[in-house]
Amino acid sequence: MNIARSHVLISIDAGTIMAGARGVQAELVEEIKKKGLSGEVAVLETGNLGVTGMGVVLVVYPEGFYYGNVTKEDIPEFVEEQLLKGRLVKRLLLTQAPKRFIIRREKMGLTKEQPRIVLKNCGFINPESIEEYIAAGGYEAASKALTAMTPEEVIGEVKRSALAGRGGAAFPTAAKWEFARKAPGEEKFIICNADEGEPGTFKDRLILEGDPHKLLEGMLIAGYAVGASKGFIYIRGEYALSIERTEKAIADARSYGLLGNTIFDKPFGFDIEVMKGAGAYVCGEETALIESLEGHRGHPRNKPPYPVVSGLWGKPTVVNNVETLANIAEIVRNGANWFKQYGTPKCAGTKVYTILGHVATPGLIETEMGTTLRDIIYDYGGGIGDGKQFKGALVGGAAGAFLGPDMLDVQMDFVNLKEYAAALGSGAILVMNQDTSMVDMLKSVLHFFKHESCGHCAPCRLGTARLVEIVDRIADSEAKADDVDRLLAIASVMKDTSFCPLGQSLYLPVSSCLKYFREEIAGS
């Protein structure tokens, strides 16, 4: 491998492929060859660079310049000016992008670079190359765990890090592992929940597309800690590129001996399989997901017994979210104390968010737990855009909470938001400007739940249908006098009586929407 003076990173993910990234990549390589720069400039394929909706995105290193909306036609000029002559192509330069990694902490009077734990490699390495992952320190943590630590020590380290599940429920990860480890039984399983169906959330997709080995390494360590020899990654059927890259990563890890019957010469074997989902939101619920993995309809199971005792095929099973598992390698490698320096005292580490809706630059970010909504919208998202005002945000997807302007400066983490009767959920932040109709928003959320209700239990099946009828009446200006109260009453009964979180979680968006926008909804 010769050393290049310049590196051009091109983001190849579902969004940029659509914008023509493959064509731009081919043209770029060709043009570099034509100009005789092949030995000096390297073109590297990578995952999402943290910018979405800006077409094909390139980053030039060592300068760190971001270019967006690049087309094939721009390439000759880009190569001539930027790569040959070292001059900026200003019309393509993204001035917003680099800010994504730096956030201003006005109160602290300093500009602080935000840690990247989960997304450390995303946008920096080629996700299809196991060599690049290893070169970036990959599988070091697995090696440390398997050769120098006992399973109990691994669990202890994760426990001290206070890592909480990133799928939304924030259950302590180490506790789950410990339960499964102590549960009787020879055969145990690790399942990665990559059935990311919460509207507005696509962080797991970008982790899988950008750094699949990070997940595999996390699963390998989890398997060792729990005493499982088999892992499954349940990926949404819609995520074609995630499935392709994860399967390639698994094949590469097998050929490097990082998955298989003996790993690091230890009498410990672990292998991973990908399962493609078939389109059912309820399968994001862990017991429904397990049913689906077994080949059944995705109906949730009764709890208890919890999956850690009786999960897949009745065996002890740990179900963790992609982002949770993507934290594991860094925790094991750097230690719990290192991890705890980030975030808030009650909630350690970082959170990956997707910001979308009415913001200037939608995209994927990772910031410390405790970052306020204001910082996220204005520093990372570039503000509301079009000179409009902030009206509200839906945080955590359809099952999340509506937040009004009074919540802009509240520190966001799993624990703190709970005190405000809100939730961080999956980490989707949908921002709405002054022109957004909240009736429309609520209608969209309720139609979503009606569509996805699995029909297993009556409160959810009937409740979602009634809620949709009412919200449609409101939207058509045919509401009855007590319709708004009825919305809340039905949602409240569903919260108390539904069988699984799908029906229970609907209360949060309904109640929070009415808390902030009751007048608007009642008045329409």
Binding site: A14, G15, I17, M18, A19, T52, G53, E196, G197, E198, P199, G200, T201, F202, R205, R236, G237, E238, Y239, A240, L241, E244, M275, K276, G277, A278, G279, A280, Y281, S292, L293, E294, G295, H296, R297, G298, T354, L356, G357, H358, P362, G363, L364, L394, G397, A398, A428, L430, M432, T436, D440, M441, S444, V445, H447, F448, H451, E452, C454
Partner: protein, 165 residues
């Protein structure tokens, strides 16, 4: 990704596809846990899952037809009626809804003269709705087969669809 484009087109003779189905089923004989994966493959082959296909799958995997039918109708990916050569899926997830997904859908329905779930008479297009495809940064999004289109404006809809024969 490419193997997903070999979806069964209406003009392909269904009969010729059954030996291929047998191969898939044979590889999973007596493994009911592989049902969903087998159905994915069968649907890639036929474009939909007619009763006869479900019967063969049920028999091969050691399940009853009602169990297979139950799974087929539970998941939105699976269809029991033939689809057009090209499947259009308009996203109406929250982010797309806010950004005008409903208008894009209305345009598709009006131009093609069919409603959600329908197929054009020449079997060129089918229209469906999806709830979030995870492309919210590009809202409103539309899928044609496996190709994602973002920021779909009503004026652009037919330009996109014309590319698919």
């Amino acid at each position: 990704m490419s193997d997903q484009h070999t979806c069964a087109c209406a003009d392909a003779q269904e009969e010729e596809l059954y030996p291929k189905l047998s191969e898939i089923v044979e590889g999973n004989r007596g493994k009911p846990e592989n049902l969903i994966m087998v159905l994915h493959k069968a649907q890639n082959l036929f474009g939909y899952l007619p009763k006869k296909v479900q019967q063969i799958v049920a028999e091969g995997l050691g399940l009853s037809l009602s169990q297979v039918y139950g799974v087929v109708t539970f998941y939105s990916f699976f269809s029991t009626s033939p689809k057009g050569r090209n499947t259009i899926k308009v996203c109406l997830g929250t982010a797309c809804y806010v950004r005008g997904g409903q208008q894009a859908l209305g345009k598709v329905e009006n131009e093609l003269g069919i409603k959600v779930g329908g197929t054009t008479e020449d079997r060129r297009y089918s229209v469906d709705v999806v709830r979030c495809i995870g492309a919210c940064g590009l809202a409103p999004a539309m899928l044609v087969n496996d190709d994602v289109y973002g920021r779909v404006k009503t004026t652009k809809v037919m330009e996109i669809l014309d590319r698919y024969e």
